[in-house]
């Protein structure tokens, strides 16, 4: 009988941004320098300047 070796999980860090004007949410890969509640670029939907990072988390890649 062969035992399957447990596959090592690869966790990818993601950053979630939200526009405070239009509430549009976008998810992208984490960049160094990101931190939660940091004010970032302009919103791609409404071009507003009030975009901030709301979450940073890791997800197992599939």
């Amino acid at each position: 009988m062969k035992f399957k070796r447990k596959k090592e999980e690869v966790i990818i860090p993601y950053t979630v941004e939200q526009c405070n004007s239009c509430n549009a949410i976008s998810k992208r890969k984490f960049k160094e320098g990101d931190y939660v509640f940091k004010e970032t670029d302009t919103c791609s939907s409404c071009k507003g300047r009030h975009v901030s990072i709301t979450k940073i988390f890791g997800e197992v890649s599939t």
């Binding site: 160094e32 939660v36 509640f37 890791g58």
Partner: protein, 352 residues
């Protein structure tokens, strides 16, 4: 024919324990090798990180290696009266010394980088100590040829390896400044603190005021996005001396039991704060003196999840916890009263 049965019986009667010792030893040896790799890899990661980020004038390896061998002597407990203050004093001395040592690596180091290096150094030191302790117990048992001595080590090895793997994973999150599972408390309270005036409550700890449905909220957390837990005990003492809140709500990460899902939220009573116990003692003392009830909300996670990059399930629990904090405030404080909400944990990668 009956000799076929007798031989193994006799063999196991006289050599059974030695055979078992050999099997157990080889298992422990494999884990020990793994621990050694973890220890060496994380040390190398730390040195590479220091060299690439703060570019010290001299090679930091001698200083780092010397630091890895530092020890802390806990105060004598024959007379336990006043021991908490003694422990706090010793731990603070160690923290201050570490901070100073890290700052001497480069004159241009900023507080964020310094805090990251301090945390990585802590993880590497713990791995170094784990390796040395396991090696000591293993070699002692082998030297004495003592099977019962190796049994407790065999039982503890899975837990030690779980912690070691968590520490190894933590280094990567610390290097990149990513929030860790333990940062969920500061993340929730940090969101509540947005657009308020932040003031210093204690070393690396901030607080602010906010109104919520007729109640006054005092919000407190470690100062992010640095890798710090702040000094919640000192900060609480100061806030309570200036503004006496009617209720204290503490939000923290807590270790889940096997079988529980990560990110589930539980409510309870008492000071939700980990660590060596000095901050919890201080919070309990002050709350008892002023007869302020303490409520706790915890977000369950494993030890690995608590010190590595925050998992999605944990980050997603933030909204649920915020609504539970609001509910708790409405249930336990009348309009006109005030509530102190504390986000406990390492605030790496989480601002306010």
């Amino acid at each position: 024919m009956w000799l076929v049965w007798i031989v193994p019986i006799v063999l196991f009667m006289f050599y059974g324990q030695k055979i078992q010792l050999q099997i157990t030893s080889s298992e422990i040896n494999k884990s020990l090798e793994k621990l050694k790799i973890f220890k060496e890899d994380t040390r190398k990661e730390l040195l590479d990180y220091i060299k690439s980020t703060i570019k010290p004038a001299t090679d930091p390896s001698t200083k780092i290696d010397r630091y890895l061998e530092y020890f802390t002597i806990m105060p004598v407990d024959l007379d336990p009266n006043g021991i908490v203050q003694k422990i706090r004093h010793i731990m603070r001395s160690r923290e201050d010394y570490t901070r100073l040592q890290v700052k001497t690596l480069s004159s241009e180091i900023n507080s964020l980088e310094a805090s990251k290096i301090e945390n990585i150094l802590e993880a590497v030191t713990t791995l170094h100590l784990l390796y040395k302790m396991v090696r000591h117990l293993f070699l002692t048992a082998k030297k004495q040829n003592n099977f019962p001595l190796i049994l407790p080590l065999q039982m503890m090895m899975p837990f030690i390896m779980e912690e070691a793997e968590a520490l190894k994973g933590a280094v990567s999150a610390f290097k990149q400044g990513q929030p860790i599972g333990d940062g969920i408390g500061p993340m929730i309270v940090g969101k509540m603190m947005l657009e308020t005036e932040k003031r210093t409550a204690a070393f690396e700890t901030v607080w602010s005021e906010k109104e919520f449905e007729g109640r006054k909220l005092y919000l407190m957390k470690a100062e992010g996005p640095s890798a710090t837990v702040g000094r919640p005990g000192d900060a609480l003492e100061r806030i309570i001396s200036e503004n006496k809140p009617d209720v204290i709500v503490m939000v923290d990460a807590a270790l889940k039991l096997e079988g529980e899902d990560s990110g589930i939220v539980s409510q309870g009573f008492g000071a939700a704060i980990g660590g060596i116990g000095t901050d919890r003692y201080q919070i309990e003392e002050v709350a008892t003196k002023h007869k302020i009830p303490i409520y706790a909300i915890v977000i369950k996670q494993s030890i690995k999840e608590a010190i590595t990059l925050m998992k999605k399930e944990i980050a997603d629990s933030a909204e649920k916890v915020t609504s539970q904090i609001h509910e708790m405030i409405k249930d336990n404080a009348k309009p006109g009263q005030s509530v102190l909400v504390i986000g406990v944990g390492n605030t790496l990668g989480v601002s306010q």
